[in-house]
């Protein structure tokens, strides 16, 4: 009985990519839909350009604020390497959406490690994933900060929450002066998988 009707969304990327805002929007949409919601993330040291993750869970009743490995219905990654890093969270039958953005970690910049070929690694494992050209779209809209909203638009097609809840959630959570560009970004993301 427990867990059957739960939806788990694992959002990842690097510090500064708007992951916490994205998880706020997913949570607000679920709350508007009348569901129980929990989300969890870590602040502080981890946000100084490090790997950032947010767990969002919604359904009739949520206990754990953390998603278990292998049980995330959607892994939404704002950066390619992070998608590969957090792959073990993906559930059987789940789906991964990854942006077209590459951000080198310090270990790669100083030559201690190589940035992997993420798509090849995912293909080799038969991971069901889509690359969302979020950077291209955001740049086309004249604001590279809306990458996360493009990704959310794409995610909204997959997650079991109606479009009316998403619109309201985006409106609630983005700064008013950036609302127009964010709504455009959301719609563009949505049309990609729609």
């Amino acid at each position: 009985m427990d867990g059957m009707e739960l939806t788990n969304v694992f959002i990842c990327g690097t510090g500064g990519q708007g992951i916490l805002l994205a998880s706020e929007v997913v949570s607000a949409a679920a709350q508007s839909a009348g569901l129980d919601v929990k989300k969890s993330e870590v602040h502080g040291m981890a946000q100084r350009g490090g790997s950032v993750t947010s767990h969002v869970r919604f359904g009739s009743k949520v206990y754990s604020p953390l998603i278990e490995l292998g049980r995330s219905d959607l892994v939404l990654s704002m950066e390619k390497l992070e998608a590969l890093r957090w792959l073990p969270y993906l559930a059987p039958g789940g789906r991964m959406l990854m942006s077209d953005i590459r951000i080198n970690p310090l270990t790669v910049n100083v030559g201690d490690a190589e940035y992997p070929d993420v798509e090849a690694a995912l293909n080799a494992r038969d991971v069901p994933y889509d690359v969302i050209p979020a950077y291209e779209i955001a740049r086309g809209l004249g604001n590279v900060r809306v990458v996360n909203t493009v990704m959310l638009g794409a995610a909204s097609v997959i997650l079991p929450l109606g479009p009316e809840y998403w619109k309201e959630a985006v409106e609630q959570r983005v700064p008013p002066k950036a609302l127009k560009v964010n709504m455009e970004a959301f719609e563009k993301g949505r049309s990609l998988l729609g």
Binding site: D2, K38, A46, R48, G49, S64, L81, E82, T107, Y115
Partner: protein, 593 residues
Amino acid sequence: MSRSLNEVVSGTLFLSGNEAVARGAWESGVHFAAAYPGTPSTEILEAVGKHYAEIDAQWAPNEKVGMETIAGASFAGARVLTAMKHVGLNVAADPLFTLSYIGATGGIVVVSADDPGMHSSQNEQDNRLMAKASKVAMLEPSDSQEAKDMVGEALSISERFDTPVLLRLTTRISHSKSLVDVGPREEVEVKGYQADIRKRVPIPAHARLMHSRVEKRLLELSEFGAAYAYNRIEEGDSSLGIITSGVSYQYAKEVYPEASILKLGLTNPLPWDLIERFISGVDEVRFVEEGDPFLEEQVRARFLVDAQGKSRVPLEGELNPETVREAIRPDTVRQPPFEKVKTPLRPPALCPGCPHRGAFYALSKLSGSSTGDIGCYTLGLMPPHNALETTICMGAAIGVLSGIEKAVGREGMGNLVAAIGESTFVHSGITGLVDMAYNGSTGTVMIMDNSMTAMTGGQENPTTGKNLRGEPAPKLDLEALCLACGAKAVRVVDPHDLEEMEKVLREEMEREELSVVITRRPCIMTYRPSRPAYAELDADQCVGCRICMNLGCPAISFEDDLPSIDPMLCWPNCDLCVQVCPTGALSKDMEGI
């Protein structure tokens, strides 16, 4: 979300545990709150400052002062709250342990936000043991609703039993959000200050009586806890009984919803009668608790029950549903479809444009390094700077440098300086500097003044000229303070003026007497660029020397023997790479930035 939450007097809000604690303080009539920022506790006072004007809230220079000010306000009959990270309670332990004897006139809530897993901390101490050692009552919420409600509970327990109450959160409570039913504020009268020396002056003759009252209080609280609503038995399958508290309860419910569970909310002192009843109704007892075996050791010692806890649940690190499933439902463990892939680590780094980068670059160039402290600048240990070698606790950079000189002399100390942020210096570095002067140390203290308590997300402090609510406040004069402490020279330098930075640092490191170098440049979080600007490379002039890579700037990578600048990351008012480039291959238009 821009409106203030004190306008919302009913309904359901989606709040983090920290925001919920702030809300609980407001609803239950707290008058005064003081804290020093510390992850994962910081957002409590931030939320009070942002949303709840009815509470007089302030940043304290450190946790001890915060604890002392709320003690005084409680003496005067106000309801009070202080909040800190787990190691902050070490700093505030001195007042807490005696405040336990003195008790509470106005209700006292002490929030300790522990950090199992050390997401942003230097140790993993379990402050439930601090509640036991200081003999105060303790509540442990397991979600945001309880975090809010338990503030009110803590205040009534505090006033009824005349005790400070420790509200013990962990990172997953503080930084997880869940739905919270909220209500209006209940106004409570400030009782007013009345002298009571038998209660508040713990000279031995008084303190002996106080101690007796404390022991009696613990017995009464244990009895109270046995019938307390937040200590509850959730009856289920009686073959296994789980004793748990805090976020661990959620993991246990997640993986074994059918089990019998004793969920404890008031965990110091333990409700012995209730525990006895629970144990006698189940075949086997198992403890699911994060951190130290706090519940396990006490319950097993008291009832001599053969039960498993830390033999199955990890002692180190944070619990999660996987570890709890393995401990109590190993039959339901299933392998994730995709295994972990080896990927390059992405450690945190100083931000592009960070003022500290210039200071560490110069220090590194002088073959120097540092005894370090707690803040963003702890990241000076990372390559390519490799310029920080020790860290203990807030303020330790200074004492440690001085101790090294005591042991091996000025020569043995080599090119070490003490590296400490301005907020950390004010928190507990000042006494270290006084000690250096008093006891003849000749080292150099580098106060990295970015005009902000930065690692915790950007808070004001006594050097910034603003208070918690962003209003103007007196600004501490660091230069005058350091001279008064006994430094022979105090120099101020912009760390992004690399030539000057290196010159000043070299001169002061060579000086054979105590000196202070204040590297002063505001944190990038305080700066709103007027337009984007990024460094550009003239590939024809680049000789591929990689000197720019010595900055460790996240915006610069090296591909095909050339540096590449990421325009999304390059910070508008920083030109360190332009300054270090020996051939002029890098340039940046910073006009009007």
